[in-house]
Structure formats: structure tokens, C-alpha cells
């Protein structure tokens, strides 16, 4: 059941089905969907059904499905999973473990399906797919409910920063559309999600084969009053609509016109900037005023997150690629040491003697030392000390940099807290990760920094909030703001990551 109140205006907007395309019409944003689950859970059928019922498929694609005569198991209905042939099918056969991308439009939206394998040996693929997602659909079989795998998937989603998850309880037809079965799974899922930093966690009962609650409301489940899957997805905010948060502008390159124009080119990664704003570079410590926001389509008065622009400053502060422009009172840290959670992507295990580089959004910095501290067990969320790390492991690591780089704590600002470990010799992408703590001094981290725990926040600042998802969003917002204020006061601070030791809220799975 959805835990997010449906606003009336949203319901009106959510009128679905593939409308006839309108000339020159632009869609209301893009939502990237990660689908996790295995073939057994009916993942291909669910996506296929969504495409069939709600998307702008070409007629030849529809005709192929009709003509094939392939039926969904045990029914007389077309096998919609065919629409995913070449994508999901070969992944599940183990031919490839890659992420596949598929695009479709509904009446109002562009959706991008990022399909990644869900098995444990593909943790790295799921993590890299999830890093591009705005919403994740976790699929479970109503007969099996929330499994260990669901827990592991939720942990990966949280790690890479996915804020919205949907649990699609599939095959409701096989449990007699039972409300009791659904309520139990819904309760388990909510308990599970509370451990994580999700802003919205919604459970929807569906039957992918019959189309119940996929792109139309189910008549078999009158007890379910929430939104169906597509309706829910169409309400999810598009990428690029969140312009709140502290301003960040990672500089990609410097543009010159041969005369007096010197523009810092980049994409606003958080917040917004307007002409006249003072921005500062934490690495040089220098500030300047934005005098012009240039694009080929003309100058802009302001630019919000997601816009690619060129900023001209009033004085030349000698900023170049790798710098992150920010508002002077809320800057990233010129980090010397970084504590991070890493997903080990490479088949080559961690080697303390290997040469590694750290890639941030636009910087590439030599790593002085990389230490693996512990490995996380995603199913229990417990950690065990380790100095080794292999492919698909989730590691807690400490990185000491050869020179400072502008880095944020991932849970505060997002993009400027993302990291990639690169092999200095081969250039290969070794591990992807997020900064959980950053320190400007080259000394030991961990003892020195202050952790805002969930409990601490829940007892005071967030005492008035419940476990509902709207309140959870407010909880995270307050936590972020508190962290930003503390950091501005010079306190090295982190918001509690998912607990390393089980917090006793385990639903007993």
C-alpha cells in the first residue's frame, strides 16, 4: 500500500495510456527506473506488460508479440516478456552480466529502464546500474514475500543513493488476491526500509501477467486503494527538478573565445546559481562573483541543477578542471583523507602495493594509501574486519590522497561525494564508491569526526516525526541541514550510514 498521500493534482496528471504523439511536444522530464528481481519473480513479464499497456511501442513490435503465439505460462494471454528479448533473457542465461538500457514514453513522461541482474555474483552490476536510477522497482513473488535477496538489493540501493523504491508484490493472482498476504509483505518491507535512507518506499500488489495494478487499477483487489504502478511512477519527480540544496559546480574545462571571455564550463550538480552570486573554490580558498552564465542559446539569469553552462567570474581566480565552485559558507571539504564505502568492480582483488588514482566528478587525484578496513554483509548489514577485498565485495575503506580534492559527504550533497578508484597503470575502473566522511587534515579520521546517529536525531530534533515516508523525507532533510550547519562550524560530521551491526529491527527473515 502506498504510504505517500496522493495529491489531487497528481491524480489528474497521471491519466495514462499511450496518447497519440503530439508534434514537437516535449515530455515532462525523465525518470530512470532500475528493475531488480529474477526471472522467477516475473521481472520480464512486468516490464513487458508496462511497455504493452502504457508505452509508445512501434506497431511492428506489437505485431511480433501477437503473431508469435507465445503465451504467458498457464494462461491464454500473450507473453509480454518477449518485448524484453535480447535484454533480460540473455542476462538471466548468464551470457552477459551487463546492464541493458531501454527507453519508452508514456503520455507525459520519458522512462528509462535500467535492467540489471540481481544475483549475488552480480552485485557490482546492480550497483552500477542503480547509481543511475531515480526509482528502483524491487520485485517479489507474493508466495515467497520479502527474501534475503530483497534485503541485499535494498542495501545496495541505499549505498548508491537511490531515494525512491517500490516493492512490486507480483503474482497476486496465485495467492487469490489476498489482502492478508499483501499486508504481511508490506509490513516486512517497511520494517526493512526503515534502516535505510529512502525518502519514499511504496508497496504495490500486482499481477504482471494479467495487468492488475500495472498500468490500470485492479478490479480483483478492491481493498487496495493506492496508486497502480504506472500512476506511482508518473508522480515520481523527474531528474533535474530538485534545485534545493547547496550549490555545487564541478568545473570540467575552461572555455575561451580568443578575446576576453574565460568561462568555466560544467554542469550544476546541486542547488542553483544566479548572476551576482559569490562563489568560492575550496582548493584555492578564493572567491569571485558570477558575472555571466553563458550558453549558445544566450545568457541565463540563473542556472539550476542539471544545467550545463559556462560561468564567467568577475576576477580571474585561476580556477580550472577539478575545482568545485560552491557557495562560500557551504563548501565541500578540500579532502586529504576520505572514508568511503566501495563496491569492488574489478576481477583483480585489492592490492595494497598497486598504484591507484581517485576519480571524483571532474578531478583525478593520486592515492597515497588505500586501506580496506572491513567488509559489509549486505544481508545482515553487519561488518567484519578485513584487509582484503574481492570482486562484488562492499568494503569500508580509508583513502589518503596525494593532494587535496574537493569532496562532499555523499549523503549530504550526492554527486560531489561519488568516487571511483582507478588503476593507475591500466586505467581500469576498480571500485565505485561514496564518501561517508571527509577530512581536510591528513590525520586519522574516525576518532575526530562526529556522527549524527538516527537515535540522537529521533529523540530530539525529529521527535515529532512518524515512520511514514513523507516524514522520513523530512527526517533526512533535517539531518542534512544539521550536518551542514555543524560542518560550517568546523565540526567534521557524518550522518549515520546504514548501521553496521543489526539494530534489532530485523523482521526476522
Amino acid at each position: 500500500m502506498t504510504v505517500q498521500a496522493i495529491r489531487k493534482s497528481d491524480v489528474a496528471l497521471a491519466a495514462v495510456t499511450a496518447a497519440a504523439p503530439v508534434l514537437n511536444r516535449e515530455l515532462n522530464g525523465i525518470v530512470h527506473l532500475l528493475t531488480c528481481g529474477s526471472v522467477d519473480d516475473g521481472k520480464s513479464t512486468l516490464i513487458g506488460r508496462l511497455l504493452w499497456d502504457a508505452s509508445d511501442l512501434y506497431e511492428d513490435q506489437r505485431e511480433n508479440v501477437r503473431k508469435s503465439g507465445r503465451k504467458a505460462a498457464g494462461t491464454d494471454l500473450p507473453d509480454f516478456s518477449m518485448l524484453l528479448d535480447g535484454l533480460v533473457a540473455e542476462q538471466e542465461q548468464g551470457i552477459t552480466i551487463d546492464i541493458a538500457w531501454k527507453y519508452f514514453d508514456t503520455g507525459t513522461r520519458r522512462f528509462v529502464i535500467i535492467d540489471s541482474p540481481g544475483h549475488e555474483q552480480y552485485t557490482r552490476n546492480m550497483a552500477s546500474g542503480a547509481s543511475h536510477a531515480d526509482v528502483a522497482i524491487l520485485l517479489v513473488d507474493a508466495r515467497a514475500g520479502v527474501k534475503k535477496q530483497t534485503k541485499r538489493h535494498a542495501a545496495i540501493l541505499d549505498l548508491v543513493g537511490v531515494k525512491r523504491v517500490v516493492l512490486a508484490v507480483n503474482k497476486m493472482d496465485l495467492v487469490g488476491y489476498s489482502e492478508d498476504v499483501f499486508r504481511k509483505i508490506d509490513a516486512d518491507f517497511r520494517t526493512l526500509c526503515w534502516k535505510f535512507g529512502f525518502w519514499d518506499a511504496t508497496t504495490i500488489p500486482v499481477s504482471a501477467v494479467f495487468g492488475d495494478n500495472v498500468a490500470r487499477k485492479s478490479e480483483n483487489m478492491p481493498w487496495y486503494t493506492g496508486a497502480h504502478l504506472l500512476e506511482h511512477l508518473e508522480k515520481a519527480p523527474s531528474r533535474g527538478t530538485a534545485s534545493g540544496g547547496a550549490f555545487r559546480f564541478p568545473v570540467q574545462t575552461v572555455l575561451r573565445d580568443g578575446a576576453d571571455f574565460r568561462g568555466l564550463a560544467g554542469t550544476v550538480s546541486s542547488g542553483s546559481v544566479k548572476v551576482g552570486d559569490t562563489v568560492s573554490d575550496v582548493l584555492s580558498g578564493r572567491s569571485a562573483k558570477v558575472v555571466r552564465i553563458a550558453t549558445m542559446d544566450g545568457d541565463l539569469p540563473s542556472a539550476t541543477s542539471g544545467r550545463a553552462v559556462a560561468l564567467q567570474l568577475d576576477i580571474d581566480i585561476d580556477v580550472s578542471r577539478g575545482a568545485v565552485l560552491a557557495t562560500p559558507d557551504m563548501r565541500p571539504v578540500a579532502a586529504q583523507t576520505v572514508e568511503a564505502r566501495l563496491v569492488w568492480l574489478s576481477e583483480t582483488p585489492f592490492d595494497a602495493r598497486a598504484g591507484y588514482l581517485l576519480r571524483t566528478v571532474t578531478d583525478l587525484v593520486p592515492i597515497a594509501t588505500l586501506e580496506i578496513k572491513a567488509l559489509l554483509d549486505l544481508e545482515t548489514m553487519s561488518s567484519r574486519p578485513s584487509t582484503h577485498c574481492n570482486v562484488n565485495d562492499i568494503a569500508v575503506a580509508k583513502i589518503s590522497l596525494g593532494r587535496p580534492a574537493a569532496i562532499d559527504v555523499f549523503t549530504d550533497i550526492g554527486e560531489t561525494g561519488t568516487l571511483m578508484i582507478v588503476d593507475a597503470v591500466t586505467g581500469a575502473s576498480i571500485a565505485g564508491g561514496v564518501a561517508t566522511a571527509v577530512n581536510a587534515r591528513g590525520e586519522t579520521l574516525g576518532e575526530g569526526h562526529f556522527i549524527l546517529t538516527r537515535e540522537m536525531l529521533g529523540n530530539g530534533l525529529c521527535r515529532d516525526l512518524s515512520l511514514s515516508s513523507t516524514d522520513r523525507e523530512e527526517f533526512m532533510r533535517r539531518a542534512n541541514e544539521a550536518a551542514i550547519l555543524l560542518r560550517a562550524a568546523g565540526v567534521s560530521v557524518a550522518i549515520e550510514p546504514p548501521p553496521m551491526v543489526d539494530d534489532g529491527m530485523d523482521p526476522g527473515l
Binding site: A20, P21, L23, N24, E26, L27, N28, G29, I30, Y58, E59, D60, D85, G86, L87, T96, D98, I99, A100, W101, D105, R109, A127, S128, H132, S238, R239, G240, Q252, T253, L255, R256, D257, G258, F261, G263, A265, G266, T267, S269, A294, T295, M296, D297, G306, R307, A308, R321, R359, T360, V361, T362, T418, L419, M420, V422, G427, A428, S429, G432
Partner: protein, 301 residues
């Protein structure tokens, strides 16, 4: 009023970001310019990425000598209008051997005049990165393609050696002998390309617009007779038909569709209402099952 960016705004910004990353990270990039609608959008995005600076890399056109005459005229006008650097490369060995798309199978023709030609040019000029207009929605084997697609020495594409891409982090650090293909339009669809051309009022090759043109019907496909090199076989006739092209490649490997869409608006309307996906018109892909996967491994886009 909703000030949120539209999907085209977001796609444009993403492409600009990719162009800037690649230009900053690679030593000597080049833009693969094939004159068609995707190249038109690709070039426009590149100009936006570096405005007001001149493009920091040249364009490369692999000329098979079998492009439509209108395409070559459009290419030269574009280069002149925008003040671009253009490199035209032909596989002279292949042309001397007499390789052509009429007497040879599409796979042999494409391999020698396009794939080998491209490799020759990349090696000759020492480019370490080549921008292409490929999209993930074009074909199933491209659905898994990366934005930075690495090629081992000899331009071989190894699907297992591709790098995971996470968030907006773009790792372009090359190993010895490696080069990279960069696809800034990875996340665009065919419909986006047309909508964007209309929105940005971009000029396209006139062959995209319907006009009476001399055609030959062969194997159920309409071929346009662009010059005397394509002649009707016994039983075939040359007939004037009102046609246009949904996709432009090498003449005569690209089939036309009958259409009355004589302006861009009508073309876009037709495309948005299309009943078939675009590659139906590209004969090269029907040549052999799995053709694209194989061509890619050999270095074709």
C-alpha cells in the same frame, strides 16, 4: 507554470557534459561525422558544449564514395557555414580493388570501405577518442553499450572488457594501445532526434524530405537511383516516386519510404506516428543475424 526541464533539456545537458568530459580527458579527439540526422544533432551539441570557443577537435568523414550527392553537398555547406575543420578519408586500397555495394555483399563492402577506412583514419591521425552519434535504442546489441566504449589495440571491441559506469563519473584513463569511442547521445531515441531537430530548427540533408525521385523496387525495398552506377536489373524499371529517407547511409544500401512529408514538421509527425522502427530501412542490418554485434567487434560503430 512548471519550470522543470523537459526531457530534451535533460538529454541536451547530459550530452554537453559528456562532450566536455571527453575533450578534457583525451589527448586528441575527433568527431565522426556521417552527415545524417544523428550527426547533425551530434555536431549541434558539440558546438553548444564549447560555445563560444571554436570546436576543439576536427570532424572526420569516412567517404565510401557511395554517399548520396545531396549528402556531400550538405556536408561541405555545413563545414563552411560553421567554420569547421573537416578531414575526409577514403580507403584508397579498397577503392582500387573495385569494392562497391552493388557487386559485393553489404558485409564485405561495409567492412572494407567503412570499418577498415575508419581504422586507417584513426591510426593515420593518431586520434585517441572518436565521438559517434550511436544510440542505445537503435538495436538490441547497443542497449548495453557504454558512453565511453573502449577499444583494445587494433580497435577491437571486447564486451567483457568494458568499464562499469557509475553516477556521472566518466573514467577516460586509457591503458596502453587503447582508444575510445564516445557516444554523447547514448540515451536519445529516434523520436528525440527528430523532435530536437525541429525544436532547434536545424538544417538536415534534403533527402529526409519527400520529393519525386527516380526509384527502383528491389527485394521489396525502394532504392533511389542517385547516379548511373545503379541500373535496373532485367524486369526492373526506374520509376518516379515521391519518397524520402528515414535514415541515410550508403547509396544504394539505404531504402526509401513513400511519403508526402515535404517539410520538417510533416516528417516529424510521420516519425512520431511511425509503425516500424527505423532500421527496417537499412539493408545492411538484414545482411546477417547478429550483424551489428559482429560489426561492432570489428570496429564499426
Amino acid at each position: 507554470m512548471n519550470a522543470a526541464p523537459s526531457h530534451l533539456d535533460l538529454l541536451e545537458a547530459e550530452s554537453i557534459h559528456i562532450f566536455r568530459e571527453a575533450a578534457a580527458q583525451f589527448r586528441k579527439p575527433v568527431l565522426m561525422y556521417s552527415i545524417g540526422k544523428d550527426s547533425t544533432v551530434l555536431l549541434h551539441l558539440a558546438r553548444k558544449a564549447f560555445y563560444p570557443q571554436k570546436l576543439p577537435f576536427p570532424l572526420l568523414h569516412i567517404d565510401t564514395t557511395w554517399k548520396f550527392r545531396d549528402m556531400i553537398a550538405f556536408r561541405d555547406k555545413t563545414v563552411k557555414d560553421f567554420g569547421l575543420d573537416l578531414i575526409v578519408h577514403k580507403n584508397e586500397d579498397g577503392l582500387k580493388q573495385g569494392i562497391n555495394p552493388i557487386d559485393y555483399s553489404p558485409s564485405i563492402y561495409t567492412d572494407i570501405l567503412k570499418t577498415q577506412g575508419l581504422k586507417q583514419a584513426l591510426d593515420k591521425y593518431g586520434f585517441d577518442a572518436a565521438f559517434g552519434g550511436a544510440r542505445r535504442d537503435e538495436e538490441a546489441s547497443r542497449a548495453k553499450e557504454r558512453v565511453f566504449s573502449f577499444r583494445a589495440a587494433g580497435h577491437r571491441w571486447d564486451p567483457r572488457k568494458q568499464r562499469p559506469e557509475m553516477w556521472r563519473l566518466m573514467n577516460g584513463r586509457l591503458g596502453t594501445g587503447e582508444t575510445v569511442r564516445v557516444f554523447p547521445m547514448s540515451n536519445w531515441t529516434e523520436k528525440d532526434v527528430w523532435r530536437y531537430i525541429l525544436r532547434e530548427k536545424l538544417d538536415v540533408v534534403p533527402l529526409y524530405l519527400a520529393k519525386d525521385r527516380p526509384t527502383i523496387e528491389r527485394n521489396g525495398q525502394l532504392l533511389m537511383q542517385d547516379d548511373e552506377r545503379l541500373q535496373p536489373k532485367p524486369g526492373e524499371t526506374v520509376k518516379m516516386r515521391k519518397i524520402r529517407f528515414r535514415t541515410l547511409g550508403c547509396y544504394p544500401l539505404t531504402a526509401a519510404v513513400e511519403s508526402h512529408a515535404t517539410d520538417l514538421e510533416s516528417v516529424v509527425a510521420e516519425t512520431l506516428n511511425a509503425q516500424t522502427s527505423e532500421r527496417v530501412g537499412r539493408l545492411i542490418d538484414h545482411d546477417q543475424a547478429g550483424a551489428m554485434e559482429r560489426k561492432k567487434q570489428e570496429g564499426y560503430f
